[in-house]
């Protein structure tokens, strides 16, 4: 960035706004494509979008981006201004979507501080060809681009001398504009337009500043010449002329009447040469602005872009705010639960700390609410995926979206776009059959994918359901068995266990590799991404009927309700959503299997036991079941019981990820992060999913 005036906030504003426009534009394309044409509103909107991108990008010196936008703007200008114009709708949509893709890539470069250097030549050519074709097909070849001003040729800005003698004097002036001031002809026009109060008559050269854009070159080379007849004082006129914007130099002085007459002749000659037909009578300048007919009704329907009082905030700042609120919650607990103060039992302190708690939890809710973003943008992107894929694979698939207004934390939303895209690609590529196959199977020719989001407690469920061929249990099992991923026999596994295998790293059906899916990056990446944000993936399928994949995603990552437990001197926190119950067992319910693993029977079901002190090698006095406590935890219908010394209580905790150096040093299983407790001690958050859970419920 070689321009000192472009700074970080401007760049940010640019990237933010342009991305938004591109996204809206893309959605608009997909929507329009469904209908099969552009509505008048859409045309207007696209025109404005491209106009904005053109202007902003030019300001940022991203010329390629600006030029491309300008071309598309031109196309929509033609379409907007010429009612009933015929145009090739689908090619235009393709062109614009291609441009959208180009913009996306360039924006990523810009965001990363690189120069947007994508080659637009072929794309610009394509758009240009389209524009030319459009004009040609509709006989608009000669239409001037900005034709809305009904060229007011009869408005020549000069005044004829009145017949009788007057004490007017003659002046000549030559204005040179500064370089790069642009549109010199209009600048000259401005000078003439505003000078009329001051003068009786003014002639100027070049005279065709209004109609002829070539006059710019003339003005640049030779300056803008004026012959003025005026009764005003020389000083006044000079002052006026000196105030001209972007004035490089002004040559001004009194002139002879003869010179003026001469100029007049030249002026008239020139006009004849220029072949501008102006009736002699109308040459008399009368500024008649009232004649201007009122513009068409300006009452336009308010488009989708309703203005709201919304400000955009850097996500980093929100993250920081969230962090600080987290610290505040901890600090609040540290104060209000301070053992020494609590012992004093001061009523006023209790009251004050309750008040503090109320405010801090409200604050916390508010911060969470600020970070919540609707899933609609992410879902809308899927329409594009479906569109592109169905075209490439010539399948007929329709995507229905429900619950896109469901809100999820900003950080989470970023993490689910890719997995979602992958699942949908898989569904179209491998799930949904070709048209004929479908008909043969008695299904409708058009495949269907349903994308749905809904709230479920502190989770959001995203459900992707297709009506394709479904998963073949037997095949999956065989593949997994051959790949050495499982050793049980198929009878020992239930459906969900088998379907879960497709999430296993290294598992691949890899029968056919297409452009879109089946290239190694498989469902395991999806599972990993979802798990990294504390979610889980559930796969269900009916062979021949279709597959349903459910992504279970937490509303937020930052603060969870946790159960604090103690093992020896160590503290652990179990997310309360994972805790089913806790109880103190007698040793009689304990069962040992031949390998010495311990299990417990609860209500006729058998649960494996994990002794935390043993698991983490901690020193504690509580090793038996009589004194300790068992906490039954569950994830995805799989459970186990954890043995701890005692429960410390339930509390909201702020999740902090484990420092990287610890992760690098040693991979500790079963840890999801850490947190600070009210007394300032550190507690490790257990990730229940990583323990050896067993599928008790189905057995």
């Amino acid at each position: 960035m070689n321009n000192s005036y472009i700074d970080e906030p401007m760049l940010e504003a640019y990237v933010y706004e342009t991305s938004q426009i591109i996204e809206t534009l893309e959605q608009l394309m997909i929507q329009s494509e469904k209908v099969g044409n552009f509505s008048a509103d859409a045309i207007n909107e696209i025109f404005r979008f491209m106009h904005t991108i053109k202007g902003s990008s030019a300001m940022m010196m991203f010329n390629e981006i600006s030029t491309l936008a300008h071309k598309i703007e031109d196309i929509f200008y033609v379409i907007r201004e010429n009612q009933g114009v015929k145009y090739d709708f689908s090619t235009l949509v393709d062109c614009i979507l291609e441009s959208v893709d180009y913009y996306k890539i360039e924006l990523i470069k810009i965001r990363n501080g690189e120069t947007p250097d994508g080659d637009t030549a072929s794309l610009t050519d394509k758009v240009n060809d389209y524009l030319e074709m459009l004009k040609e097909d509709n006989g608009l070849k000669k239409t001037k681009k900005e034709k809305e001003t009904k060229s007011e040729k009869d408005q020549k800005y000069y005044i004829r001398p009145s017949k009788k003698e007057d004490p007017a004097k003659y002046y000549k002036a030559k204005i040179m504009f500064k370089k790069d001031c642009e549109m010199e002809n209009i600048r000259a026009y401005t000078v003439i337009h505003n000078i009329v109060d001051l003068v009786e008559e003014v002639l100027y050269k070049p005279s065709d500043i209004i109609d002829n854009d070539q006059s710019i070159d003339d003005i640049r080379a030779n300056g803008f010449l004026m012959a003025i007849r005026s009764t005003s004082s020389e000083e006044d006129i000079r002052k006026y002329l000196e105030k001209t914007v972007f004035l490089e130099s002004l040559d001004f002085g009194e002139a002879e009447e003869d010179w003026y007459k001469e100029f007049e002749v030249i002026y008239q000659d020139q006009e004849i040469h220029d072949d501008i037909k102006i009736p002699e009578t109308s040459k008399k300048y009368i500024e008649n602005q009232k004649v201007k007919k009122e513009k068409e009704d300006i009452k336009q329907e308010v488009t989708a872009t309703t203005t709201q009082s919304i400000i955009s905030v850097n996500v980093d700042k929100l993250d920081m705010l969230m962090d600080m609120v987290g610290e505040l919650v901890i600090a609040e607990a540290m104060v209000s639960q301070n053992p020494e103060v609590v012992r004093l039992e001061i009523e006023s302190f209790e009251k004050a700390s309750r008040q503090l708690h109320k405010i801090s939890s409200e604050l916390q809710d508010m911060v969470m609410a600020i970070r919540m973003v609707a899933l609609s943008t992410t879902f809308m992107k899927m329409h594009r995926i479906v569109r592109d894929m169905t075209r490439k694979l010539s399948k007929d698939v329709v995507l229905d979206v429900y619950g896109e207004e469901t809100e999820v934390d900003k950080n989470i939303i970023e993490k689910i776009a890719d997995p979602l895209m992958h699942i949908i690609r898989n569904a179209i590529d491998h799930g949904i059959e070709d048209g004929e196959d479908r008909v043969a199977k008695g299904k409708s020719k058009q495949g269907s994918i349903i994308l749905e989001a809904k709230n479920s407690g502190s989770d959001v469920l995203i459900i992707i359901k297709d009506d394709g061929k479904g998963l073949d249990k037997q095949k999956i099992y065989e593949k997994a068995y051959n790949q050495g991923l499982i050793y049980q026999s198929i009878e020992d596994l239930n459906d969900k266990d088998i379907y879960r295998l497709i999430l296993h790293p290294g598992f691949s059906m890899k029968e056919q590799v297409t452009e879109f899916s089946g290239r190694g990056v498989g469902m395991d990446v999806v599972a990993k991404n979802i798990e990294s944000i504390g979610g889980s993936v559930i796969v269900d399928s009916v062979l021949g009927k279709g597959t349903t994949i459910i992504l279970k995603i937490p509303l937020t990552l930052a603060i969870i309700e946790g159960m604090n437990i103690k093992v020896g001197e160590s503290r652990f926190t179990i997310p309360i959503v994972s805790v089913k119950e806790s109880f103190r067992p007698g040793s009689r319910e304990i069962i040992r299997d031949p390998d010495g693993r311990e299990m417990i029977m609860v209500r006729g079901l058998c649960y494996p036991i994990v002794k935390l002190y043993e698991y983490y090698g901690l020193r504690t006095d509580v090793k038996d079941y009589e004194n300790g406590i068992l906490i039954m935890v569950e994830e995805d219908d799989r459970s186990c019981c954890l043995l701890a010394d005692e429960l410390l209580g339930q509390q909201q905790v702020v999740v902090k990820s484990l420092p990287n150096y610890i992760k690098r040093y040693k991979q500790v299983k079963g840890l999801g992060g850490c947190t600070l407790l009210g007394d300032g001690s550190i507690s490790l958050i257990l990730d229940v999913g990583e323990f050896e859970l067993s599928n008790v419920l189905d057995k």
């Binding site: 933010y16 202007g55 902003s56 300001m59 681009k145 034709k147 001003t149 308010v302 203005t307």
Partner: protein
């Protein structure tokens, strides 16, 4: 000098604001379309307005006409892009005091503003 920035592109509003604030100009309000511009003009009475032309709801030129009816002293600078010659001409006829063509830099904008001081 009290300024109002009228532009439907938030980027342009940020850009113009950053170019002129810190100088002797104070941006008193911003508007996102012509309709808002008229409303905010009545409320804040700025001395100078930078006015984008292509905007939703009400174009810059229509807003200019209305605002010029409301005040004869307010100075309006049209912010335009290449290819909008005809529109600027129309704006000048309706009383626009000056104009500036995108892309422009700080110095140009300041120069236009300076020229409007009387």
């Amino acid at each position: 000098m009290r300024l109002m920035i009228v532009d439907d592109a938030s980027f342009m509003r940020v850009a113009i604001r950053r170019m002129i604030e810190t100088k002797e100009y104070e941006v008193v309000c911003e508007a996102e379309d012509g309709q808002q511009a008229i409303e905010k003009f009545q409320k804040y009475r700025p001395d100078i307005i930078t006015m984008d032309i292509t905007m939703p709801n009400l174009s810059g030129i229509e807003a200019l006409k209305e605002i010029k009816k409301l005040s004869s002293t307010v100075k309006v600078i049209m912010v335009s892009a290449m290819g909008q010659e005809a529109l600027i001409r129309e704006a000048v006829m309706h009383g626009a005091n000056s104009f500036i063509v995108k892309p422009f830099k700080e110095d140009k904008l300041i120069e236009v503003l300076e020229s409007l001081k009387s």
